[in-house]
């Protein structure tokens, strides 16, 4: 386990305090390295082997020729520093290597040495470095202190996205046998069992049955959680945490109630019992594609007409932005609906055309705010217009609760802070990083708790929900303060009044 550490003191959100640099503050922070048993099933070398330097540079060259983002971002940074105070991990840890440009420079220094004339002729002048074991270790530690949340890219005058660089760095490390245990073990489970949690089909069926009983006992209505139903209208793909953890599971019951109340037939799938796609976190196109193709297979197998995704941030980015590329074309689905749809788009549409009815008193006493998940906010969209990813979740929450307030404008919508646990960092050995990285969000939350009496924060991402459940107590809040958006819908929806 990690060494003891101090929970950061929260300042005033209005002051936007920028910490003085603490060089090396997080130099020792790193996740467990993947063992051969986690590496090899994904086609990666088991361990770091002789000659890795050359292999790494070769792979870097390949990525530079395959990704315009990487090639352009390597060249065009002017070191203006507009990003330096934007990363939640820098703000929370004060380690200068957590400033986005400094993180990029860990990679850029190697790029310059091997791929640019200036770096070959005058490495000292342009900060070019050989790829040594020390540099590799630094890469491993600091590219696992980036949650790929893209906040820095919003403020960069050239749109340089550190996420692209940390993905490339992780892919290079995987390709030489220096992978991260947490992500690669999980990807192995998706391939072997079907979901990130490694929940086998019989256990999943059991869980769903139990939940159906709970819902019937609570509401008196037989709300179903169908799975592997051929010919259903909708295939729902949702993060496996929705079957397992709170508050996720309360959200799952919300989806089921919405489908029930709307009278739309739907099904889950044992084959695609996971919306998450950790292939993105490790920057590996082929893994991301392979994981996505399960969803295509499940849709074909079950003969559904639509695909809807449950609440999950990075899953929605992969689904919204990449799924058509990775696993399309979707010409066998109903062309009247976007592929895929987000459950919030589905629910919001029903609310606005009165296809479902909500009673806010179901959430009496609650004052809500919302945490925009980074991947939803800056890597995807909902609805027909830019920014729908901000208005649609808010519309659904406001329809379900008596009072809603937003947090400070510098911390929401496109400027939202990561929860601190995204990008493949939601693992226990990184708890110090996760607590410190959540400080900017906690600061903005504290502000609305004190000023507006906020009691709960809604999240629309499985990772955010798990992260907040864990770190809220560090800041003196109840772990149940974080709720699923569809948990609020679930509390408010009127069932059995469908005509």
């Amino acid at each position: 386990m990690a060494a003891p550490f101090d929970t950061p003191e929260l300042g005033n959100v209005e002051e936007r305090r920028i910490p003085a640099l603490k060089v090396g503050a997080m130099a020792e922070s790193k996740p467990y390295v993947a063992a051969a048993a986690h590496q090899e099933p994904l086609g990666f070398p088991g361990v770091l082997e002789e000659g890795w330097e050359k292999k790494a540079i070769g792979h870097m060259g390949e990525l530079l020729s395959k990704y315009r983002s990487l090639q352009v971002f390597m060249d065009i940074c002017v070191k203006c520093g507009a990003c330096t105070d934007k990363c939640h991990y820098f703000l929370g840890t004060a380690d200068p290597k957590n400033m986005p440009v400094a993180r990029q420079d860990l990679f850029r220094s190697v790029y310059r040495r091997y791929f640019t004339p200036m770096g070959k002729i005058a490495p000292n002048l342009v900060g070019a470095r050989d790829l040594t074991k020390d540099v590799l270790d630094e890469w491993y530690n600091y590219f696992h202190q980036c949650s790929q949340c893209r906040r820095c890219s919003v403020f960069c005058p050239y749109g340089i996205d550190t996420a692209e660089i940390s993905m490339a760095a992780r892919d290079i490390m995987d390709s030489i046998g220096q992978g991260q245990k947490y992500c690669n073990e999980i990807i192995g489970k998706v391939h072997k069992i079907g979901n990130n949690l490694g929940l086998p089909a019989p256990a999943l069926l059991d869980t769903l049955e139990g939940l159906e009983e709970d819902m019937e006992a609570e509401t008196g209505v037989a709300v179903k959680l169908p799975i592997d139903v051929h010919g259903a209208e909708v295939l729902l793909v949702t993060p496996s945490a929705d079957f397992f953890a709170e508050p996720h599971i309360l959200g799952l019951m919300g989806y089921a109630k919405v489908f029930h109340a709307a009278g739309v037939s739907w099904t889950l799938s044992t084959l695609a019992s996971e919306a998450g796609n950790f292939g993105m976190f490790i920057g590996n196109y082929e893994q991301m594609r392979k994981i996505s193709l399960r969803i295509r297979e499940a849709a074909l197998q079950l003969g559904v007409k639509r695909i809807i995704f449950g609440e999950c941030g990075h899953a929605w980015r992969v689904a919204y932005s990449f799924l058509n590329t990775l696993a399309g074309p979707w010409d066998f689905l109903d062309p009247r609906y976007p592929v895929p749809q987000h459950i919030l788009e589905f629910t919001n549409d029903l609310i606005s055309r009165k296809g479902i009815k909500l009673d806010k008193s179901g959430n009496d006493g609650m004052v809500l705010t919302v945490h925009d998940s980074c991947n939803v906010a800056r890597g995807a969209r909902m609805g027909d217009t830019p920014g729908g990813q901000f208005t649609i979740p808010r519309a659904v929450i406001q329809a379900s609760v008596p009072k809603f307030v937003d947090m400070h404008p510098d911390t929401i919508c496109e400027k939202t802070f990561c929860c601190g646990g995204g990008g493949g960092l939601l693992t226990d050995e990184l708890i110090e990083l996760r607590v410190k990285g959540s400080a900017p969000r906690m600061e903005a939350l504290k502000d609305v708790v004190e000023r507006e009496g906020v009691t709960h924060m809604a999240a629309m991402c499985a990772i955010c929900k798990a992260q907040f459940t864990k770190i809220l107590p560090y800041f003196g809040h109840d772990r149940e303060m974080v709720v699923s958006v569809h948990q609020l819908v679930s509390n408010a929806i009127i069932l059995g009044d469908n005509d």
Binding site: I18, A20, L21, K66, Y67, R68, S69, Q71, V72, F73, D75, I76, C77, V78, K79, C80, G81, A82, C83, T84, D85, M99, A102, T116, P117, M118, N124, L125, V126, G127, R150, S153, V154, F155, P157, Y158, G159, D161, E164, Y285, E286, R289, Y320, S321, F322, L323, N324, T325, P329, P338, V339, R378, G379, R381, T385, P386, G387, Q389, E414, K415
Partner: protein
């Protein structure tokens, strides 16, 4: 000296044009396999052109990120733009309307450019975070630009050089004809530094100028559900798919 500068400027022009051309070709050739615009993003191509226009002319994202830096960068770049337009007169036999228009602004623009550069340099020394990320080449680049600006301003305001002869030299050079360049040390320094800047342009962070337009987070439409985006190397993976 005339021959030296004639050769230098031909080499410098060649390096800059070919180097930039190769870099731009590389950026254009390298595929962008995934849709990665930083959202909210425009849905249409005119929308993207407008977004890029705002980034290039108004530094929109930088304005969101850092107001003082935005101001310094604006002062420098606007000054530079006017100065560059103003310098076109040394390369054309009759002065065009745009050049004539900015002529009265030449001196304030030159001052703004140098002042902007000095402010940008001061940030690199004064602010701890910026000092940390600043490399030797970042300082050198600013010093080079300041020296170019200062030597130019010195000729404009203090020790005038024979600009008619300078114009004759460059218009002549453009037709591969040698005409004498005034032997003036300030002019020599100015031209030497400009040539150096041109030569390092394609190998330095000055690539941010063309690079912005190739940045996938800024130049892509947000239409992944409507249109299937598939690059060549990704399409090859599909051949194996059932």
């Amino acid at each position: 000296m005339t021959i030296f500068f004639a050769i230098l400027f031909m080499v410098a022009t060649l390096v800059m044009v070919v180097g930039l051309g190769l870099k731009i070709a590389q950026y254009a050739r390298t595929p962008a396999p995934l849709k990665i615009p930083t959202t909210p993003a425009p849905l249409t191509k005119p929308g993207v052109a407008f977004r890029l226009g705002r980034e290039a002319l108004m530094f929109e994202s930088l304005f969101k990120g850092n107001k003082p830096l935005w101001l310094f960068a604006m002062i420098f770049h606007l000054g530079l733009a006017v100065v560059l337009i103003r310098h076109v007169r040394y390369f054309e036999t009759s002065v065009g309307p745009l050049v004539a228009l900015v002529q009265p602004l030449a001196q304030p623009a030159g001052l703004a450019m140098v002042a902007g550069l000095l402010l940008l340099l001061a940030r690199r020394v004064v602010i701890e975070r910026i000092r940390y990320i600043t490399g030797k080449s970042d300082i050198l680049m600013l010093v080079l630009l300041i020296a170019i600006g200062a030597s130019g301003m010195a000729m404009k305001c203090l020790v005038h050089t024979d600009i008619v002869a300078v114009k004759a030299f460059f218009t002549g050079l453009m037709g591969f004809e040698l005409r004498p360049l005034p032997t003036d040390p300030l002019l020599a320094v100015h031209l030497l530094l400009v040539a150096a800047l041109m030569i390092i342009f394609p190998f330095s962070k000055l690539l941010h100028a063309p690079g912005l337009f190739f940045s996938p987070t800024r130049n892509q439409t947000d239409t992944p559900r409507e249109h299937r985006h598939l690059c060549d190397w990704a399409a090859k993976l599909e051949e194996k798919r059932s």
